[in-house]
Symmetry: D2
Subunit: 213 residues, 4 copies
Amino acid sequence: MEVKLIDHTGDDAGIVKAARVSTVGRESLESTEKRGLIRYLVREKHLSTLEHNSMTFFIEAPIFVAREFMRHRTMSFNETSGRYKELSDHFYYPPEDRPLVQKGKAADYDLYPGSADQKFTVSIHTKQAYYAAWTAYKNMLDAGIAREVARNVLPVGIYTQFYATTNLRNLLQFLDLRTADDALWEIRYIANEMKQLAEPLFPIAMEAWNEYR
Amino acid sequence: MEVKLIDHTGDDAGIVKAARVSTVGRESLESTEKRGLIRYLVREKHLSTLEHNSMTFFIEAPIFVAREFMRHRTMSFNETSGRYKELSDHFYYPPEDRPLVQKGKAADYDLYPGSADQKFTVSIHTKQAYYAAWTAYKNMLDAGIAREVARNVLPVGIYTQFYATTNLRNLLQFLDLRTADDALWEIRYIANEMKQLAEPLFPIAMEAWNEYR
Amino acid sequence: MEVKLIDHTGDDAGIVKAARVSTVGRESLESTEKRGLIRYLVREKHLSTLEHNSMTFFIEAPIFVAREFMRHRTMSFNETSGRYKELSDHFYYPPEDRPLVQKGKAADYDLYPGSADQKFTVSIHTKQAYYAAWTAYKNMLDAGIAREVARNVLPVGIYTQFYATTNLRNLLQFLDLRTADDALWEIRYIANEMKQLAEPLFPIAMEAWNEYR
Amino acid sequence: MEVKLIDHTGDDAGIVKAARVSTVGRESLESTEKRGLIRYLVREKHLSTLEHNSMTFFIEAPIFVAREFMRHRTMSFNETSGRYKELSDHFYYPPEDRPLVQKGKAADYDLYPGSADQKFTVSIHTKQAYYAAWTAYKNMLDAGIAREVARNVLPVGIYTQFYATTNLRNLLQFLDLRTADDALWEIRYIANEMKQLAEPLFPIAMEAWNEYR
């Protein structure tokens, strides 16, 4: 999985400008960053002031992560198309530290690492299923079948690529949900990468959010 | 694939009320449907007047259709979770009339039915890949693996279920894109079902849209 | 000021259906209201489940209230137009219990009733200004001036009418902000009316929100 | 009225990247601007590719313009507050070339310059009404009345200041509506200023939009 920040604009000072227009009007154009004010805005959730900026990320992640990601309706997306592009045989395998076993209720459970046997089980069955899917996909393409039909067999563990553009307000809403303990392990990984990329851009606002969330 | 309308409110008269508030204010509360006005609003794209209503659909479709569907950020969604629910072995196979072969450029191609051989190819490879995926999934679950890990192998052709709520304006935007000739065959099927369900609810507006689109 | 609920759909059971689709898929269609689940969803802020419903309000309020109202970008609006309609001489005067005096900082102050003298001051100056504005407006209209030019002199205290359509999730977000102690007195009045109209429609969800907000 | 571009990011090449991710995936990161592709995207309304960028404008305009502006729900706004700031006596007067007379139906009329008499009528009545409003406002403030009560008398022709942040897709939607012949004269002025500021940032896309709109 990979996250790159490819473009951005705005900074802590822009948050101050947006906030101060309400109290000083046109003079806000001269505003510079003010630590106390930014912390106050984040703490009291005056979040519209965090919208006058932009970050564009390039993300490579399995489809099952992209699916959760694209539920965030305030973001802008463009993604690799299984209709327009022959996909690559690049599949997701849970890394060593990804817990494999769940205990608890359907929507409220804890995760545990899993035994060596369970790790082997995941590894072998995942590989076999991915292999069968890829073989079927390639065979269909070789027989002249349209990509948009052949791809039906591809697993949600195959990698996809997309651009996601958002502002700081909506990024923080995303991070609130997707860095939480009960978020899917894989999207938590992506969210934490995005968080680290955003921190140097808005150091005061991000510090305040970390503290008050 | 299945589409059910499970709830709705609003009608052609509501469109007139919303339009007439701008010209008559509070008197608009008494407005009833006016064919000419509704046709004018649709033709001239005064579309905010189509937003004071609501339709909730229940949809059962493969994940690759849900993926396109959920790119519509103005709609409300809740969907079956592969983390919270053990999925069912219910997979999508292209029906007899689904064209299987594409000719043309990557993002601009035409589709053709395909030969009997090609139909057989799709059928056999799709079945084999689905079977391998399902077997791997069940084996992992039997070994105590978490649903959210085991499901990585499931194909985008597996069925999912979701509720989608929207208003007439956003439905028409959806239908503009998803009933078009170059829309994915499967989402065009879903979109046409939705269109038929919406027509009796807003007969004048839907007729006007059909005519002027 | 006036708020009427003119249309709605959805109920507490719909919230349960939307929540349960994630854990039981298609079976959710049979779901009925479940008090414990709804309270859990509201408390834990699983708010997408509150979106599959709709309420349309007709609101008559001064322009300065409509201005705050229409900052809520998730709602649908249509409003009386000062370009298309000659407006009515219906102006807002602060009622007896509206506090008139502020003490504190620019964006963080408390309000007090004000003396009898201050009440008189508000009453007399407001009346004079409204009268001057209305006279100028009518004189310009009588001289054949376009409504969209003549209306420039009308005060933000003149009444306007609009339809606002939203779902329960976005209504609660509105109520969170607009029934708060530091909300503008007049929009708090409107918000409380809306709250009372919504309570019988979603009794369990509204009770939970009242408790957990 | 004044429009300043105070911040932006993104360019024509970013549109190409966003478009090409669907056909080439990760390779799109290397894309540079391609005139033909951008023109195709704009003409065929593949508009999601225009969302990966941002422009922040500072705008000074009368309240009646801000009211129309803030109906665009895809934009981000922060504005001078009549609650938090004592407003300035800066009012809008129609300039020499602003047509003053309307002929036709309520929502479908043409505008004409107006006679010298009519110009005088507008000028004198507007000045008188503004003066009365300002006097009442100041008198109330002097009597210790809260800004949020005193401002009720201020006209929609008083100037306000706000930041508006949007992306190219939503800017074009704004320009489609607000540079049209039947748009309010004053917002058309603002929209044309924004258009001129955006043209050097996205020369190919803006040229294509001008041609195909």
